[in-house]
């Protein structure tokens, strides 16, 4: 009989196993080999890494990654000293509209490395750890696209999404319906609003490292409030 976590995580486990054989680039193959692939493994025993991208827009086909922040952690602690941060040079430049948001300007990115140059370091920072993000379509879409554009890939792997965890709790259909019935606005599941529900401080956002740290803190809080150290990672990843 299949356990619930196998049912949920089974697809990803198969995919990861498959990629350890099929990935063309040795660096990617090594990444898949070390990925925590056992869906029934407990979250408390799994090394994690918080990941955040700042991008020039929301569409991976038209926009580019401007910076990446990465912070390794586990349920005991988030280690600031081991954080990594890269500013990137987008392939075709980027439009100015998002500058006000993340304050990364053309001048910054002109001398910055291309994604291909930092990919080995990025894979190294992620190695053996389960990535945690807030709102995974951005990270998944942009990373996949960036790797493919440089002739490698596919680059897809399970992620824990702290926004999806909030959505599961606060955006269930009956809850939403009830709130609408009572005339209340839907609960915000944006990073800082979600953090406030766990008494986490408001950080000044849109800086990749700070957002990664904020995401890691949020996951620690969510696990303590809604799950336990023994919750299977297959129950959490998306």
């Amino acid at each position: 009989m299949r356990t619930k976590s196998e049912a949920l995580g089974g697809g990803w486990s198969g995919w990861l196993k498959d990629q350890t054989r099929r990935a063309a680039a040795p660096a990617l193959r090594a990444f898949y080999e070390r990925f925590p692939a056992n869906a029934s493994q407990s979250i408390g025993e799994t090394p994690l890494v918080a990941l955040d991208l700042e991008t020039s827009g929301l569409d991976p086909r038209r926009h580019a990654i401007l910076s990446i922040g990465v912070v390794p952690f586990d349920l005991n602690g988030i280690s600031i000293a081991r954080r990594r941060y890269w500013i990137l040079r987008p392939p075709r430049g980027f439009s100015g509209g998002s500058v006000a948001y993340h304050h990364i300007t053309h001048a910054d990115t002109e001398q910055a490395p291309d994604f291909a140059e930092i990919l080995p370091d990025l894979l190294d920072a992620l190695a053996g750890r389960l990535p945690v993000v807030h709102y995974h379509p951005i990270e998944r879409g942009f990373l996949e696209r960036a790797v493919r554009q440089r002739g490698q890939g596919p680059f897809r792997f399970p992620l824990i999404d702290t926004m999806a965890i909030e959505a599961r709790r606060y955006r269930q259909r009956w809850r939403m319906g009830l709130r609408r019935l009572l005339g209340k606005p839907p609960i915000s599941i944006r990073l800082n609003d979600s953090r406030a529900r766990y008494n986490l401080p408001a950080y000044e956002g849109h800086q990749a490292v700070i957002d990664a740290i904020g995401t890691a803190e949020l996951l620690q809080a969510q696990i303590q409030h809604h799950y336990s150290r023994s919750t299977a990672i297959g129950d959490l990843w998306v």
Binding site: I80, H103, T105, N199, L200, P201, E204, Q207, A216, H225
Partner: protein
């Protein structure tokens, strides 16, 4: 340091002991912290477990216990714990539990050791057994020193920044909206690494220089330059800057050396603010001296009343600049006396010279030199014994009314208990005053003294000094001899108790209780000065100021060793809390009062205030023990 950690660094840098660290050490701390979340109710440190980091409360609340299980302390945002364990064998001595959802920054022991070694103030702060009150007051005192204050303390806001392509008109418009008189000109592309910095988001900028309002006059208006000229063409390529952890003194010297009135303050190469020569000068001058000059140059009571905003601004400035409570209160009391004197001079000029000599007696906070920004008038007239009510009283009554009405117009409200020279009972010849004091001391009655213990702080404000000295002498020699009198005074001093649980309630209860406030005068400084007065009278002190009284008390064996110091620190903390609160009221254009709301008290000050209330509570216990209530209630005195 990488700009991405500014967020963390900024928080640490706002709380002791980290606020006094050099930029370099502060960076080192921020670089190495490890962050952990604790749900309400979960254990952070268990007794006897090994400990390898100092804990810093980033958000939430924590309770620390003795090993007996008794509560040792409650901590909020910005507090540290675990240092006792780190200093004593690296084992947890005081277990800790999160009482709210809490985020902890853990600082590894290697960094902790390095901080202790590299920074004596840090070592002092965490050192075992150092009384917290003493440390807090000393830090406050040190922070007022030009030689040791770091210039980042003068920075109140981020610098106004203009890109070099912005026009002079746009830049001038932005300057006009801001209180600052200068802005920093930067450009995105530049090739001089000495002046290049990355902003909070990692963007690179090169600083060109500072543009002041004087530059706009001299280089744009006076030369007839177009208002559309880009600021990059107006600014001179010369940045004069000072590192944020240099001293205020160094900043002043830098300005003099380069003959400039504005200075960029930088952390590494990133500008964090602009300071003006006025900021530095203001920091070192006591503006109250100028104020007293202008009091004595006023020709009418109406002119005096117009000085009220200046009095307030001057006091707020001193408080903001980190002066201690004695400095601020002494300055305010001198200002108050100057008002009294000037009003009397103006009245005498109009009414003619007094028919008999007189002393205008100040009482209460003015006599103690402990005035704040909220104060009523308490005064009386002591007249020469040649005083004949039939012939002279009209003059003195008018005189008293002039002073009283004048003070009221200057912001010193009428005394609600009627203790003013306008009241004929408090406008008497010296011999009658002597009888009053004899009577109070020999036949005390707590109810009567409750209204008149204000008379046991007395000082001359204007006129015949010797009249007041006679009364001070009488009180000092007779009051301490009368057990019954001291017991009655002691009982009054116990009427009002400190609110020990106040901040605890705030920390623990999130709903409904946040609107509570506490009158820090009624529950803090007033019972403390009452208590100090009893001890001072008991040991024959002639001092009127509470700190001086405590010095006199410390010379006797009346209180245990160190107790007088502890009370002195407690009074300083509570007085400063009250003054700071009034300063905030004034800055926010509210009428100042004594009611503090806990949410307006910075977390880092709460622990000190709590400790001060605790010191007062202990001192009251001792007072109760020293002057037990007479059996069968209080001895009744003659009605009066």
């Amino acid at each position: 340091m990488d700009p991405e950690l500014l967020e963390i660094r900024r928080h640490l840098g706002a709380y002791p002991p980290f606020d006094a660290l050099s930029d370099e050490l502060l960076d080192e701390v921020a670089e190495h912290i490890e962050i952990s979340y604790y749900r309400a109710g979960s254990q952070i440190l268990a007794a006897n477990q090994s400990i390898d980091s100092l804990c810093y409360v980033r958000s939430g609340a924590v309770e620390v216990y003795r090993r007996t299980g008794d509560l040792f302390d409650r901590l909020g945002e910005g507090s540290i714990f675990g240092h006792y364990g780190l200093l004593r064998g690296r084992r947890v001595h005081y277990p800790a539990v999160a009482i709210e959802d809490t985020l902890i920054y853990a600082i590894p022991v290697t960094i902790f050791d390095h901080l202790c070694e590299a920074d004596d103030d840090f070592a002092d702060f965490v050192e075992l057994g150092r009384p917290r009150l003493e440390a807090a007051v000393e830090t406050q005192r040190r922070s007022n020193d030009l030689m040791t204050t770091r210039v980042r303390k003068l920075v109140t806001r981020a610098p106004l920044i203009a890109e070099s392509g912005e026009t002079a008109r746009e830049a001038a418009l932005r300057l006009a909206d801001e209180p600052s008189a200068a802005l920093l000109v930067v450009e995105a592309s530049g090739d001089d690494p000495r002046y290049t910095y990355a902003d909070a988001e990692g963007a690179l900028w090169q600083v060109r220089g500072i543009l002041t309002d004087a530059d706009f006059r001299a280089r744009v208006v006076a030369t007839g330059l177009s208002a559309d000229t880009p600021v990059g063409e107006i600014v001179s390529d010369r940045l004069v800057a000072v590192q944020s952890d240099e001293t205020v003194q160094e900043a002043m010297l830098t300005m003099l050396r380069h003959n400039v009135h504005h200075l960029a303050v930088v952390h590494r190469r990133r500008p964090i603010g602009l300071i003006r020569l006025e900021d530095v000068v203001r920091y070192e001058t006591q503006s109250s001296l100028y104020l007293i000059d202008s009091i004595f140059s006023q020709a009418t009571p109406a002119g005096l009343a117009k000085l009220l905003p200046d009095v307030r601004t001057s006091a707020v400035r001193m408080i903001r600049d980190g002066a201690d409570s004695r400095t601020v209160s002494t300055a305010l009391s001198s200002i108050g006396r100057s008002f009294v004197r000037r009003l009397l001079e103006l009245a005498e000029a109009e009414l003619g010279p007094p028919p008999v000599p007189y002393a205008f007696m100040a009482m209460g906070s003015m006599a103690r030199s402990e005035q704040t920004l909220v104060t009523d008038q308490d005064n009386a007239l002591v007249l020469d014994d040649a005083f004949d009510p039939q012939r002279h009283d009209d003059y003195f009554q008018t005189l008293a009314e002039r002073v009283s009405d004048g003070l009221n117009a200057c912001g010193y409200g009428y005394c609600k208990g009627g203790i003013m020279a306008t009241n004929s009972r408090w406008r008497q010849p010296l011999s009658v005053w002597k009888r009053y004091f004899h009577h109070w001391i020999e036949q005390p009655n707590p109810e009567r003294l409750l209204h008149s213990n204000i008379f046991f702080d007395l000082d001359n404000a204007h006129g015949e000094e010797r009249f007041i000295e006679v009364l001070q002498e009488l009180v000092a020699t007779e009051a301490g001899q009368s057990k019954a009198f001291l017991a009655a005074m002691a009982r009054n001093a116990l009427n009002r108790t400190p609110p020990i649980g106040f901040f605890r309630d705030f920390v623990m209860e999130k709903d409904g209780r946040q609107n509570n406030s506490i009158n820090v005068k009624r529950r803090g400084t007033a019972p403390l000065t009452d208590l100090i007065r009893v001890h001072a009278l008991a040991c024959g002190s002639r001092a009127q100021n509470s700190f001086e009284r405590l010095n006199d008390i410390a010379e006797t064996q009346l209180l245990g060793p160190g107790v007088a110091d502890r009370l002195s620190y407690a009074l300083e903390i509570l007085s400063m809390t009250r003054l700071r609160h009034q300063a905030i009221d004034i800055e926010q254009e509210r009428e100042p009062d004594n009611n503090i709301e806990p949410e307006n008290v910075p977390a880092k000050e709460r622990a000190d205030i709590k400790e001060a209330f605790r010191a007062l509570s202990q001192a009251q216990k001792f007072l109760r023990f020293r002057y037990p209530m007479p059996a069968g209630g209080v001895r009744a005195g003659r009605p009066g």
